[in-house]
Amino acid sequence: MTRPPRVQRVAEHLIARACRRLPGEAGDERYREWAAELPAILSDPDIGSGVRRSARALSYAAGISRCARRLGRPGPPASLPARPGFPVRRVAAGVAIYLGLVGLVVGLAVAFHLHGPWPAILIVPVAAGFVAFCLVDLARADQVRYLPKWGWAIVCLVQIPLGGIVYLALGKIPRANLEPPAQP
């Protein structure tokens, strides 16, 4: 028997890690089910190149990890529509934080006569950290409002830091707003 390709082993590893979130027996069975799909993906004749098959297998494994997180925790299951309602307070908080940030940056620059590279050295790591935080939050969210996830990702990246603030205020669904699971 030949050794499975490296991508398959990486994906299997990711799936195994995800399945550890599930209780014993269920985790083992899910691992067998999910890992069994990998050969089908990696030999899918409908996906042109090997690179794209590998990417598909990895994105499959990432989805499995999200899925295991959902299955592993009691609470709202997948695909719940958000309760409607415009989040006035979060938007107000977002505007206040943004104005505060701008004020802080301008204030610091004026107070300490910052010139040359210093403002950038101070701001860039904070901005990068903030964008990373927003993107991670977005990736882990089960569901977002108003725009699809990729739309929010673009907003977060294009308008730093306003896009991220708008996402957190508008797009992110607070835990309390998720409806309890519907009873069949």
Binding site: M1, R32, A36, P39, C67, A78, A82
Partner: protein
């Protein structure tokens, strides 16, 4: 059952041949859904008794392929799926492929 866009797509795929047994990747491709959306949905349908799952006994075309888990609509599942899709079509006119997103709060 709460009909969301992805759920509608999965139900349509199942109903295209209600007696067919489908495995996960097959469903992902046919319904164009990522694994992170499909499997929680299958788990929910399974818990509600609308879908059954079984392991394939032994892969016959296998070149050492591990056995797959297959999903199939139950009779109750097929009935509920037809009902929900008909209800959705009656309530809101949709594109034939059902890619439209449901309005927030559209329930039951």
């Amino acid at each position: 059952m709460k009909l969301t866009g992805p759920l509608e797509r999965v139900l349509r795929v199942f109903l295209a041949d209600p007696s067919a047994r489908r495995y996960g990747y097959d469903l992902m491709k046919a319904a164009r859904l990522p694994s992170g959306t499909l499997y929680p949905m299958l788990a929910r349908l399974h818990d509600q008794g609308l879908v059954t799952s079984e392991w394939e006994p032994s892969p016959d075309d296998a070149g050492g392929r591990p056995p797959r888990k297959y999903y199939q609509l139950t009779a109750e599942g097929a009935r509920a799926a037809r009902l929900e899709l008909a209800r959705a079509a009656g309530a809101v006119p949709r594109a034939a492929h059902g890619t439209a997103r449901p309005a927030p709060g559209s329930t039951q």
